[in-house]
Amino acid sequence: MNHSQRHRNLKNQLASVSLVVVKKYRKISGVALASMLASSCATNAPQDTWQPKGPNAKLIDDLQQPVFAVAGIIGLIVAVAVVYTVIKYKDRGQPIPEQTHGKPALEITLTIIPALILAVVAVFTFGAIFKLAKTDDTEMIINVTGQQWWWEYDYPVQNEFGITQPIISSGQLVMPVGTKVLLRETSRDVIHSYWIPALNGKRDAVPGRVQTLRLEADAPGIFAGQCTEFCGLSHANMRMEAIALSKADFAKWVSNQQAKYVAPAKDSLAQQGEAVFLNQCVRCHQVNGLMRADGTPVIAAPDENVWSGAAPNLSHLMSRNTFAGATFDLLSKQCRDEVWGASSDEIGAKYLAGVSEDCLNQKDLRSWLRNAPEMKPMYANPTQLAATGGKYRGMPYLALSEDDITKLVAYLLTLK
């Protein structure tokens, strides 16, 4: 048997094996393909990049739709040509055809056509990039700060929106519709990336740098997002939601966020919860307006306990729908579905209703207070904090009793 015959036998054997594999896994392959196709029909896909809900996302969509179409057609032509060539020129024992090198006319044509296509795409792409980078038409500023594994939002003083003192929040970004919002992003620890697909593309949040990202929503709604730069253990749990409210509703939200702290009623369970909070939680979590028994204001010191130097500010916690980096819902499933399923006209009122006792997702909140690291992977083992100088990344286990948890939940419910 000469070399050529051995080579041909080997190829035949490989082809037989491939056929057996294809036949054996035909069903699985079919199911996988069908699932892939079916997933493109999903209606409940809040992070779908093909459903823009604002002018910035539309700008990207208007660019990617034709590019995708052109790329798809070219891809199809190439695939068909490859399959045609493989079948037509399959090795059937025929002699090897004459080998030729160099067809200048063909080569130049095949270089110029893609170059022209890319040049046209580049013109529109650069236009879109410059439009998305504009900051001189900004109407509202929101500072966005990433840290492992949650996003903080602070609203500098902007009298035109009724923001007469800075507002600080986390997990959910609240913004008025039809307003050109500029996010000023940075990070306190590692690189993160902010992405609300329905409103714009991604922008990295880099420590030591301030990067800007435009957001604008056409209509009231809730838009989901996800950190898109791997940032450690709980990267997958670093989520965010943008809540677009009508201007009137946004004004109500601003007013509520600036409302003074209301202490729990005397001798109530919530007041006992406030004592637990003062004893345990204020080391890291700030509640604006909270006073100690001696009348001095409480200033949390997350910089002394947390590696990033910050922990979520819990003032008006129950005006948000999520907690722990938007990983868990503060609302029960039924109430959450009501908010998410509300029409544009109703969503403002439903969102501003906040979290009532009936709607509270007691199960997750209690579990979180009981043992947070069990709920969300974090570097919270006190014996393994050498790399961060003894500081935590995420909420540690606090060994709270069930009684304390009940009191705390009652207190947190008052933070409307």
């Binding site: 900051t135 306190r188 301030v210 010191a301 910089d303 130097g309």
Partner: protein
């Protein structure tokens, strides 16, 4: 005839004695270094004695093979012994000396081994030399080139530190021009005498090296000595100007310039903040807790001014509870110039107080720093 082993050990002994004498002068203490080096002297002297008595352990009297060429003279025993002494010295002085010794010993051992092997490769001395070159030249040339280049660069840096700024700039231009002209000359005259080229390059290198040594002994120029003594690079002065040699290029830091949170501008006696994203000048800047925030101070007024951040009080002597003003500031900034200021504030200002930016000498103008 002394044996090779004897030469090696006696070399270590002699150098160790020299090291012992030096250490007594340099270290001004005998305790550890003296004991260690004395032990080394004793051990190597003993080994040298054994080597010479036993003829390097050769028990039979070999008849010289007249058909074999004599081996060449080797410098590697001497180099190895210097390396061993450096190792010993390094153990009691500094890690740098120790690692230098380690590199010298390892390099010399490799050279010594390959040379010994090549000398026994054949009876032809020329062939043996060629075999050695083929193995070692690919390593020797880059290493020696890097060392040579390093010495020249280091020497040149000593020269630049010794001469004043304007002379330094001229020197740089002059040297660059000489290198350029020499390069052009070599290209245009490819048949230039090789010895001449080598001589020119060697002369240049030796010249720089010698001037470098001279400059190192002269020391750095006065302003650099003063600057180092004052620690002006810390940029933490807020009182009367203590240094006239501050780093005027601090604001040129590229990463800082490309990521400025706010530019604080002083013009016509008014202080305003231009904050990224805001279209109008602001009189307050909201900055994030526990995050470094970059400011640029741009002085458009005629006199020199500095920007000062008043961050309240900070404890200075616990547990006494004593506090002092927590001020952070830029250096004095001339008209039209800029200085950077990086602030990290971990907590909001206590109730009833606020953090502010101000410019001493400009009354009634402040920018509030709001930390939510």
């Amino acid at each position: 005839m002394f044996s090779t082993g004897f030469k090696y050990f006696i070399g270590v002994t002699v150098l160790s004695v020299a090291a012992l004498i030096m250490s007594l002068f340099v270290l001004d203490q005998f305790a550890i270094a003296g004991v260690a080096i004395s032990m080394l002297i004793a051990v190597t002297a003993l080994l040298a004695g054994i080597a010479v008595v036993t003829r390097d352990g050769q028990t039979t009297t070999a008849t010289p093979d007249s058909s074999k060429e004599l081996v060449t003279q080797s410098m590697w025993p001497l180099v190895t012994s210097i390396g061993v002494v450096l190792l010993a010295l390094g153990l009691v002085t500094s890690a740098l000396v120790f690692f230098t010794g380690l590199v010298v010993v390892l390099g010399a051992l490799v050279e010594w081994m390959v040379q010994s092997w090549s000398e026994r490769a054949s009876k032809d001395v020329n062939y043996n030399a060629l075999a050695r070159k083929r193995i070692l030249n690919p390593i020797e040339f880059p290493v020696l080139a890097a060392l040579g280049l390093g010495v020249i660069i280091y020497s040149f840096s000593r020269i630049m530190l010794a001469v004043d700024k304007s002379t330094g700039a001229l020197l740089f231009i002059l040297l660059g021009s000489v290198v350029l002209i020499a390069g052009i000359l070599f290209v245009l005259k490819p048949n230039l005498n090789r010895s001449l080229v080598v001589a020119i390059c060697a002369l240049g290198a030796v010249g720089i090296f010698a001037t470098g040594i001279l400059s190192a002994t002269t020391g750095m120029r006065e302003e650099l000595v003063e600057a180092a003594a004052e620690g002006h690079f810390s940029h933490a002065e807020c009182g009367p100007e203590e240094s006239k040699y501050f780093d005027k290029l601090a604001e040129g830091n590229l990463s800082l310039r490309s990521s400025v949170d706010a530019t604080i501008e002083l013009a016509d006696g008014k202080l305003t903040a231009r904050v990224v994203g805001f279209n109008q000048p602001q009189n307050s800047v909201t900055i994030r807790r526990a995050t470094s925030t970059n400011f640029i101070f741009h002085n458009l007024d005629a006199n020199e001014y500095r920007l000062v951040a008043d961050l309240g009080n900070r404890a200075v002597a616990e547990p006494d509870g004593k506090t002092e003003k927590n001020l952070v500031c830029t250096q004095l900034t001339a008209q039209g110039s800029e200085q950077s200021l990086v602030l990290t504030i971990n907590k909001p200002a206590p109730v009833g107080t606020s953090y502010v930016l101000s410019v001493p000498g400009i009354e009634g103008q402040t920018i509030e720093l709001v930390v939510p």
